[in-house]
């Protein structure tokens, strides 16, 4: 696949070249490439063992690849932990609702990044600025049009979809470059899943590129701008969901069809 087939000319935000990751005898990533462009939702799909989760782990700092390089805004980066990735402006939303249930929405949004009061109250007494965190929470949630009224209610009083919205809103509020979403709708029902999809779209429209890992093909086709197909530890193809059928996409993913057999306009 060559660059000339890209349908978009938006600048590259995140890029990986020739990533290799071995676990003993198993090669999970075998020279995988990856490109995320500004302002897009890039879905990453792949069968079990295709190297999809190893790729995402490398991008989010959860594992360190053995070979290859990762570039963020053209600069080479090396993450040793998810905290490094977060410092670089990459936020990850996990499948299993990574929120503290008995704490309030505002507390969850600012967990680990609490704001302190100005002046001596903050520096000497280390007092939290609860009012400001509350106001910012209301503003962030309104910006993303999340219809939750009170930021002081415990997260456990919310539905699963609303909880996931809190996790997505937290990522969107603090990410400066990229939001990675690992199966954000997998634990949710149809209506709740759609609510989260709508939110993901608004995150993109806010200007943050989104990497979406999902098994749910209808969701992927509904929301993705481009689809990265992982296969055998490599990138098999990047396709345009508006030009390719779901069955052809699955065929490439499972290896029933070679990417080179796809018509050129399907590629993205």
């Amino acid at each position: 696949m060559t660059n000339s087939t890209y349908t978009t000319n938006a600048p590259l935000v995140m890029q990986a070249k020739g990533l290799v990751k071995r676990y003993g005898q198993v090669t999970a990533l075998d020279g995988a490439d990856f490109e995320l462009r500004a302002g897009e939702i890039l879905a990453v799909i792949g069968d079990n063992g295709a190297g999809k989760s190893s790729l995402i782990k490398a991008l989010s700092g959860a594992t360190v690849p053995d070979e290859g390089e990762i570039l963020l805004d053209g600069k080479r980066i090396q993450f040793k932990s998810p905290i490094d990735a977060r410092r670089a402006g990459i936020e990850t939303v996990y499948q299993d609702l990574a929120v503290a249930p008995a704490m309030t929405i505002a507390e969850n949004l600012f967990l680990g990044r609490e704001l302190r009061r100005p002046g001596l109250l903050g520096s000497a007494l280390r007092m939290l600025d609860k009012k400001k965190m509350l106001e910012e929470s209301v503003a962030r949630m309104a910006e993303l049009k999340v219809g939750i009224r009170s930021m002081t209610q415990a997260v456990e009083t919310l539905s699963g979809g609303q909880r996931q919205c809190v996790a997505v809103a937290r990522a969107a509020a603090f990410a400066r470059h990229v939001v990675i979403m690992d199966e954000p709708t997998a634990a949710l029902g149809v209506k709740e899943g759609n609510m989260v999809l709508e939110l993901i779209r608004r995150v993109r429209d806010k200007g943050l590129p989104v990497i979406l890992i999902s098994h749910n093909m209808p969701h992927v086709f509904e929301i993705a701008d481009r689809i990265h197909i992982a296969r055998l530890g490599k990138r098999a193809a990047v396709v345009n969901p508006k030009k390719i059928s779901m069955s052809d996409t699955v065929a490439v993913m499972t290896g029933a069809m070679a990417a080179s057999d796809l018509p050129a306009e399907c590629l993205a």
Binding site: P82, I83, R86, T92, Y94, D96, L97, A98, V99, A100, P101, A102, M103, E107, L111, G112, R113, E114, R116, L125, R126, M127, L128, K130, Q153, A154, E156, T157, L158
Partner: protein, 319 residues
């Protein structure tokens, strides 16, 4: 579901307080001496050791742990500080510092075993409970240490408030509650204690060093047990190798009666103070009624089971 769930916390916070008022009302009808300022000052003096141990215990239980060693570590601290003063002639502050260093060392050991080797807190502290008990007996030779400087019992002195003599240790206890209340409620490390107890994985994923939070909690608990050692020595005027035996479970009872969930992440430090007062009021009231101490232990046991059952049942509606 959401409406009942959001109404639960106020009930959970008020419950212990209502229980305390009811207990006071009951004992007031049983003994005319119960409702007097002197008697309340006495209750404060009786509960101050348990109440300070219970602060450390609350921190541990908020992280979904438990510390079974609390009373025995407190006893060991008392023996160390009194023997340091009696055997080596160390001044009161230095001897007290030695005792508190030992209690904090036990907290550190508990914390390291829980965070680094990932052992369950129940088992770790069951082990250190026995180690601390044996160390106390061996080091003291099972003898009470009475030859101590006056400075060590200063917190057992009283001041007059109107007609009532109030012990300084009780004031220190109340101050410690206020400081902990502030730290848990208004500072980031305090909120992280709740977060770790609530969902350790979610907390770790936000970038909080959960092991450091846990380790800090166990060491701080050791600090509170050390302060309780000082109060215990001040109250009895001696290093007592048999101290801490009722305090051990009374402190856990105080936390649970105060509405803190044994499942972690939920509870309030001022609830623990109320819980400690409930334990103290029952002990005091039953004594005034002439009920033998065995029945007092029986009642404490029943109260704890009632409190845990209430906690469990009230959580069912939420999950």
């Amino acid at each position: 579901m959401s409406s009942t769930a959001s109404k639960l916390p106020p009930l959970a916070t008020l419950g212990p307080f209502i229980a305390l008022i009811l207990a006071c009302a009951f004992f007031a009808t049983q003994s005319e001496r119960f409702l007097s300022a002197q008697n309340f000052a006495l209750i404060l003096q009786q509960v101050m050791v348990v109440a300070v141990i219970a602060i450390g215990q609350t921190l541990v239980i908020l992280t979904a742990g438990i510390d079974l060693s609390c009373g025995m570590v407190m006893a060991l601290g008392g023996i160390v500080m009194t023997k340091m003063a009696a055997d080596y002639g160390l001044s009161a502050p230095v001897a007290i510092a030695c005792g508190m260093a030992v209690t904090m060392l036990f907290g550190l050991i508990n914390g390291l075993l829980v965070t680094k080797i990932k052992l369950p807190p129940f088992i770790v502290t069951l082990g250190t409970l026995n180690i601390a008990f044996a160390a106390t007996q061996l080091y003291s030779g099972a003898q009470t240490i009475t030859d101590i400087p006056a400075g060590m019992t200063a917190l057992g002195n009283t001041f007059q408030l109107g007609q009532t003599a109030i012990v300084w240790g009780a004031v220190l206890m109340l101050v410690l509650y206020l400081v902990t209340w502030f730290a848990l409620r208004e500072t980031a490390p305090g909120r992280h204690v709740y977060a770790v107890g609530n969902s350790p994985e979610a907390t770790r994923l936000t970038g909080i060093a959960t092991d450091k939070v846990l380790l800090g909690v166990y060491v701080l608990a050791g600090l509170f047990y050390g302060i309780a050692s000082v109060l215990s020595v001040a109250r009895t005027g001696a290093g007592d190798p048999n101290a801490g035996q009722t305090e051990n479970l009374d402190a856990i009872s105080a936390v649970v009666l105060g509405g803190t969930s044994l499942f972690g992440g939920r509870g309030m430090i001022l609830g623990t103070l109320v819980g400690a007062l409930i334990v103290g009021v029952f002990r005091n009231g039953l004594t005034l009624m002439g009920v033998s101490s065995v029945y007092q232990i029986l009642v404490t046991g029943i109260l704890v089971i009632l409190a845990v059952a209430t906690d469990q049942l009230s959580r069912k509606g939420v999950r």
